[in-house]
Amino acid sequence: MFAPLKSIRSEMLVLAQENIDTDQIIPARFLTTTSREGLGKAAFYDWRYDDHGQPLADSPLRAEKADGRAILVAGANFGCGSSREHAPWALYDFGIRVVISSEIADIFSSNALKNGLLPLCVDEEAHRYLLANPGLQVQVDLETLTLTAGNHTLTFDVEPFARQCLLQGRDSLGVLLTHTDDITAYEAAQK
């Protein structure tokens, strides 16, 4: 389970590359786990460590955790590639709660929203502004659906049901289970 996400203020972690795929977020060799815990150490592993497991000096991701930076701003088409939910698990455990980009891949978004991680698409102008001002403090408020960076404030949309789940810090399985009678009726109608 994850902590509710209502409002968060943090410095940005900026990774401006486009098409950051899930193999970058968590390389496949870490997928042999049967648990979802503790994957933060594998987040962006090959961007952080050399072949001998030594931290790379020139990595933008030096620290063990995201250094208190809970808002990741990334280039377009973030999270493309596989459906591995290990990607949002790893980012969450690494300390990230919000991913901002001009475009975020569908399956990654869907997975992120179920795991306390808010994928937030902004228009290209706002995206450029954030990428160009990496030192800014950013405030993301899920209750008012506003993002504030420097003197700029903009509003954003989140799928309403996913938003409720995030605000309450809960998985949607409980809600799905309330439809058990509907599901039984559907099955009966299929003969």
Partner: protein, 467 residues
């Protein structure tokens, strides 16, 4: 009469248990849930934690593919797992299936194979079904006119517990492939061409239907290759309306309907097509006749070009990683490894395509070539035809079925710096091993490149007719 409806909308409507509203996504019923060892363990844990059982084990089918070795057991009889964790993951799925009464295509089961290969092969993949799997290439099954899409592990748990997922309806896109593919050009080339045209994010938020004469002319294997790579264009769904090619392919398969049920199924399946005038959010027309054998040259699947052409300008990081320059001829790329396999191109026809070029030829001595059939059934059929001999005689390795170098998590991988010509679907940085450079290609192009030692145009290599 009802209004004209797209294939996608017909299937969506049929499976809605609860309609979507502004506040809630719809509840969509799932007819077939495929699971594998990598994306299921945490879902079973959630079931255990909440004291839930699997609602429909009879609609769930499990296989082992991602973490399993493709080398046979050693002298001690043990499979050479890459790590103890990989072995544990396999054991975990075996346990979970046993506890919940789920049919598992276990190691040694003659039905086992890559999840997107075995579904169609066993005939559990059928037109009109909703099919999910914790795997983004689930779109493969859309080749049969099924509504098939990849889900995450949380959703795997949802489907195990309720046989449903919450979903909002995506937009629809139709790509019409006019004319016919030229000789020596394959479905893989078509897929890479389309991805280049619409971009790696062009299908984001869409369900794509592939249509038109060039798609109708494809075999089922070709259609699977095409739908498989929908996700490389950003689309979760790819589909082709079922037709006689589909029905012929399915007839007589283990789980296909029989006798009267088959006739009834056909009556229904024949209605599964997009009606003329049906609303589609975006439509595109592409001339298939102009497509050439394609390969990728960069680190995103839309970085694709004709194999006979040059590498265009791309961002510096991609050039640096791939050790390439703009305007360099693609044919100058030296090859270290060749991989024929994956859910994109590991079916019998793919193996034949590679074997026809490799017969009586030699893989360049510095190249390691792996040929990994997509399933046990394919392995046996290929061996019955002598394809394994053709590969082995050419100097390639003939392996046991699995995902292998497509995802490189079972120990099959390249060495840093290697250039791999691969029939798989992703050329991401590090996908086939750390610092490994991937060039995506068709089986024919892969075979030609293995002989030439550099990325090569298969049309320059005569394909022999196999007995």
């Amino acid at each position: 009469m009802s209004s004209p409806t797209s294939l996608f909308d017909k299937l969506w409507q049929r499976h809605l248990v609860v309609d979507e509203t502004d506040d809630r996504p719809g509840v969509l019923y799932i007819d077939l849930h495929l699971i594998h060892e990598v994306t299921s363990p945490q879902a079973f844990s959630v079931l255990d934690m909440r004291g839930l059982s699997v609602r429909r084990p009879d609609l769930t089918l499990a296989t082992l593919d991602h973490s399993v070795p493709t080398l046979p057991p050693g002298d001690d009889g043990a499979l050479p797992y890459a790590t103890p964790a990989a072995a544990n993951q396999v054991r975990t799925l075996i346990d979970n299936c046993e506890r919940h009464g789920i049919d598992l295509l276990d190691l040694g089961d003659p039905r086992r194979g890559i999840v997107h290969v075995i579904g169609p092969e066993l005939g559990v993949t059928q037109p009109g079904k909703t099919i999910v799997c914790g795997d983004s290439h689930t779109s493969t099954h859309g080749a049969f006119g099924a509504l098939a899409f990849g889900i995450g592990t949380t959703e795997v748990g949802h489907v195990l517990a309720t046989q449903c997922v919450f979903q909002r309806k995506p937009r629809t896109m139709r790509i019409i492939m006019e004319n016919r593919l030229a000789g020596g050009v394959t479905a893989k080339d078509m897929a890479l061409h389309i991805i280049r045209e619409i971009g790696a994010d062009g299908g984001q938020g869409y369900a794509i239907e592939f249509a038109g004469p060039a798609v109708e002319a494809l075999s089922m294997e070709g259609r699977m290759t095409l739908c498989n790579m929908s996700i490389e264009a950003g689309a979760r769904f790819g589909m082709v309306a079922p037709d006689e090619t589909t029905f012929d392919w399915l007839a007589g398969r283990a789980h296909a309907p029989k006798d009267a049920a088959w006739d009834a199924a056909l009556d229904d399946w024949r209605t599964l097509k997009t009606d003329p005038g049906a609303p589609i959010d975006r439509e595109m027309i592409i001339d298939a006749a102009t497509i050439e054998p394609m390969v990728t040259y960069g680190v995103s699947p839309d970085a694709a070009a004709p194999v006979s052409g040059i590498i265009p300008q791309q961002d510096e990081a991609a050039h640096a990683y791939m050790k390439t320059q703009a305007d360099q001829a693609i044919g100058t790329l030296k090859v270290d490894r060749v991989f024929v396999g994956s859910c994109t191109n590991s079916r019998l026809s793919d193996l034949r395509e590679a074997a026809a070029i490799l017969k009586d030829q030699k893989v360049k001595s510095n190249i390691t070539m792996l040929v990994v059939p997509g399933s046990e059934a394919i392995r046996q059929a290929a061996e019955a035809e002598g394809l394994d001999r053709i590969f082995i005689d050419a100097g390639a390795q003939w392996r046991q079925p699995g995902c292998s170098m497509c995802i490189a998590m079972n120990g099959d991988k390249g060495e840093p710096g290697d250039l791999v010509v691969s029939t798989s679907n992703r050329n991401f940085i590090g996908r086939q091993g750390k610092d490994v450079r991937t060039v995506l290609a068709s089986p024919a192009t892969a075979a030609a490149s293995a002989i030439a030692g550099h990325v090569a145009d298969p049309r320059d290599f005569p394909a022999v007719t196999l007995p």
